[in-house]
C-alpha cells in the first residue's frame, strides 16, 4: 500500500512533464488538418515546413544567432569567472552581485532597457542588437557554471604546472582549460538553448531585417495553430536531444 503512493505520485509528475511533448510529436505526424482528430500517419507537415521559405530562413537565423551568442558569452563569461576567481580587487563583490541582478531581473525589464539603450545610441535593430541582447542574458549563466567548477579547482595545479616547466600560456592550455572544459560546455549549451527559445527580449530588440524562429512561431500561432508548428517543435526537440547527448559524450571522453 505504502509503496504505491510514491510510485503513483512519480508517475503523475512524469506524465505531466512528458505528455504535452508526446502529444506534440505524435500530432506532428498527423494527416489531419486540425489538431483535435487523428487522420492517419503522414509527413505532410514536415514537407510543408521545409517548403515554407520564411520559416526555414528564420530557423537558420535563430541557429546562427544562438551559436554566436552562446560562443561569445562563453568566451566573455569564462574570462570573467577566471578573473573573479583568481584576483582580488575593489568592487569584486559588486560585480559579482550585478551578474545575479541581470539573471534575476524580469526579462521584460531587461528587454525594455535594452531597447531604450539601442534607440538611444541609434542602433539599427537586427542581428547585432539581437546578438548583444542575447549575450547579455546568457553571460551570467556561463559565469556561474564556470565559477562553480573553479571553486573545486585545486589552486596548486597551475603552480605544479609552472614548477614542471610550463609557461603561463602552456599551463592555461594544458591544465586550466581541460579542467574547466565541462563547465565551458555546459555554459555554452545553456546559452545556446536560452538564446534559441527566447521570445520576450527578442520581441523588443529584433527588427524586420532579421526574423528569428520563436517570433515567427509566435506570430503564426496567433492566427491559429498550424500543424506545421508541431513538426517544427519535434525537430527542435530532436536537435536539442542530439546536442545534449553530444555534450555528454564529449565530457565522458575527456574524463577518460
Amino acid at each position: 500500500m505504502n509503496r504505491w503512493l510514491p510510485r503513483t505520485y512519480l508517475t503523475l509528475v512524469y506524465l505531466l512533464l512528458y505528455v504535452p511533448i508526446a502529444v506534440l510529436v505524435v500530432f506532428s505526424f498527423n494527416e489531419s488538418r486540425t489538431g483535435y482528430d487523428w487522420g492517419g500517419l503522414s509527413l505532410r507537415w514536415y514537407e510543408a515546413l521545409f517548403n515554407n521559405r520564411a520559416m526555414v530562413k528564420a530557423m537558420w537565423n535563430s541557429l546562427w544567432l544562438a551559436l554566436s551568442a552562446a560562443t561569445i558569452s562563453t568566451l566573455i563569461g569564462a574570462l570573467t569567472a577566471l578573473a573573479l576567481h583568481r584576483y582580488r580587487f575593489r568592487g569584486k563583490q559588486v560585480l559579482n552581485g550585478m551578474l545575479f541582478v541581470v539573471m534575476m531581473s524580469p526579462e521584460i525589464v531587461l528587454a525594455i532597457s535594452l531597447l531604450a539603450l539601442f534607440l538611444l545610441v541609434g542602433m539599427q535593430l537586427g542581428y547585432v542588437s539581437l546578438l548583444l541582447a542575447h549575450v547579455t542574458f546568457c553571460l551570467p549563466f556561463v559565469v556561474i557554471t564556470v565559477t562553480a567548477r573553479l571553486s573545486g579547482f585545486d589552486e596548486r595545479l597551475p603552480e605544479a604546472a609552472r614548477d614542471l616547466g610550463a609557461s603561463d600560456f602552456v599551463m592555461t592550455r594544458t591544465v586550466l582549460i581541460p579542467v574547466i572544459m565541462p563547465a565551458l560546455l555546459a555554459g555554452w549549451l545553456l546559452g545556446f538553448t536560452l538564446s534559441l527559445d527566447d521570445v520576450v527580449v527578442s520581441t523588443f530588440v529584433s527588427g524586420p531585417s532579421y526574423e528569428i524562429l520563436p517570433l515567427r512561431i509566435y506570430s503564426m500561432v496567433r492566427v491559429g495553430l498550424k500543424p506545421e508548428v508541431n513538426a517544427l517543435g519535434a525537430l527542435l526537440l530532436v536537435f536539442s536531444l542530439v546536442m545534449l547527448i553530444l555534450s555528454q559524450w564529449i565530457l565522458l571522453r575527456s574524463r577518460r
Partner: protein, 363 residues
Amino acid sequence: MTSHSDLSCTGLVRRFSGHTAVDHVSLDVPAGTFFSILGPSGCGKTTLLRLLAGFDKPDEGDIHIRGQRMNDVPPNHRPVNMVFQHLALFPTMSVGENIGYGLKRQKVPAAERQKRIVQVLEQVGLPDLAGRNPQQLSGGQRQRVALARCLVLKPTLLLLDEPLGALDLKLREQMKVELKHLQKAFGTTFVYITHDQSEAMVMSDQVAVMRNGRFDQVAPPEVLYRQPETPFVAGFVGDNNRLRGDLVSVEGELADIRLDDGSRVRGRIACEGLEPGSRVDLFVRPESLVLAGEAINPGYTGMDARIRTTLFDGANSRVEAEAAGQTVYARLPQDGSAPRLGENAAVRLAWDPILARVFEAAT
C-alpha cells in the same frame, strides 16, 4: 658559494603586511643530502619553501642553487621541483601523462619520454600503472606518482611540502622509510618541510627547527634530540618533561634547582647567563627517568612523585605521574624491569643530571 652545496640561502626575509613570515634565514644544504625544515604551523616554513620554488620573491637576501643566483628566475626555469602537500596531480591526465608533463615541456622526444616514464615508474615501484587515472590510485600510489613526476626531471633540488600529511598513520610510517630510500637511490638533494617531528627525525640528515620565521637550531636529528639549544627545540622535538623552578646554585656545568614544591633537583645547564635566583625550566626526557624503588645510582638526582595512571602502548608505554605540582611522563620499560604500579602509588623518579637540560624559563 661553495661548489659542494646545492642550495645556499643568505639572510632571506619575506614580509607580509603586519608580520615577517621569514626572518633572516640562512641555510646551506650539501649536495645529495636530506634536509628538513621542522616547525609548527604558521612558523613560515611554507613561505620559505615557496621562495625556494620561485612562487614568491624574498624581500631581502639571496637564493643560490649550485652557485647560481635564483632570485629573479621564474619557477618554470629553476632546476627545482616540488611535491605539493595535496600532490596536485593533474586530474585530466593519466599517470603517464602526469609524469611526462615536465619532459614534454623540456621538449624531450616522445620515444625517449616514454622510456623515462617507464623507468621512473619502475624506480618508485609502480610498474604498469602509466595508463591509469590518478583518481584510481591509492594514497600511497599517488604519492609515488607525484614523486616520480618530479624525479623524472632529475632536478638539482626536490622540495617536499608535507606530502605525507594526507596519508593514514600506517602508510605514513611506510612512506617515511621509503622516501629516505628513494632519496638515497636517486641521490637528489631533498628539502622537506613538515610539522611532524618524527618524519623529520627519521628521514633527515639535517633538520632545521623553525619558529616565528627563524631557525632555532640546525643540526642532525640525534644532536637535536640530545642537545637541544633552545627550550623550544627541547619541547618540540621528541617527548619531553618540563619542570619549572628557581636556580639555587651552579657547580661546573650542573645546576641545582629548587622546584616549586621545595624539592631539589639537578640538571645540565644548556644556555648562558643564568644567575642564582633566575627562573629556569628543566627538560628531562621520559626515557631518562628511572622509576626507582630503592636502588638509586648515587650520581642521580630525583624527586618524589605520585602515579596517576599507566598508559600502555607496547614499547612506548609510559606512566603519567604528578611531581612538584606538575605532570610528568616516564617511560615504562616492557622488559619486566619496571615495578608494577597502582594508581596513587608513591614513587621516586630519578635521572642522571647530565641528561637533563636547563634553560632560562620562557615567559
